[in-house]
Symmetry: C2
Subunit: 147 residues, 2 copies
Amino acid sequence: MDKYDSLKLGNQLCFPLYAAGKEIVKKYHPYLAEYDLTYTQYITLMVLWETDNISVKELGNRLLLDSGTLTPLLKSMEKKGFVTRKRSEEDERVVFVCLTDEGRALRDRLLHIPEQMGRCVCLSREEAGQLYMLLGKLLNGLSQDER
Amino acid sequence: MDKYDSLKLGNQLCFPLYAAGKEIVKKYHPYLAEYDLTYTQYITLMVLWETDNISVKELGNRLLLDSGTLTPLLKSMEKKGFVTRKRSEEDERVVFVCLTDEGRALRDRLLHIPEQMGRCVCLSREEAGQLYMLLGKLLNGLSQDER
DNA sequence: TTCAATTAGATTGTACACAATTTAATTGCG
DNA sequence: CGCAATTAAATTGTGTACAATCTAATTGAA
């Protein structure tokens, strides 16, 4: 027990969070690369499958990403033919994102991925639930005191 | 309950992991920027404070980062005067990283950061412990079937 | 011993991720 | 109304992050 204990990597909660986030996203790579998708593009599709014709702003709220990340991401997905982008007519500041038929069709083709990823996660159902709950609580707390 | 439930963002364990990792690292930014440090540089210092004169390889093992990330990172930290890099004489393939006096001195100057970050995490001590344990288990499992 | 295989770092190319700034459109207060 | 403040995207610049490849050094089996 010394005065520097708080600066030891092994005593940080942040490091395993950072590392686990990175490592699990990495696990998706081989599965998603087959479909010319990245993880960020994959979760973008998830939002669109549930809510098509969504603004970039709202997409950013759901994914916790800003326009600096989303603008080039969406342009790349547009080039691949998965989405279209169209400026709103009521409010010219807003850009709506829509799925193409090909983007919609991916939903069926990617259905096997959650199952395959689930096998990489060596946690019981209860542990996974616990983890999910704690992460939600943490995320909620982090955004509470947003400046 | 429909066939696409497994592809809903809200049913993913990975998304909150990815998001929480990102968001908590973001919280460090204002504290670390004062010292011209990034989060990755900060955790690199943590390893060096505990184990000075370490190879790039071993540093990568501890931080779960590869040479593609570490090489430019260490060069930048060298330019700022926090570390030095020296090729091993016994094995010319290996590069050792050492703290400079300035890098060592940062340990005292950054001692307030873990405490300030702790206040951003709205979890009880038990919950934080639970989370830490579950993340460790998850990370351990992810690296089990490394190919 | 010798050379094929392995290893450690470095390099290249791609893709985020975000802070900070910019631009253009809209809103709302006086 | 008129214009300052706000808002949504886009842009710019910096810093990871990693797959894939490359280079040079070392190792180990025939």
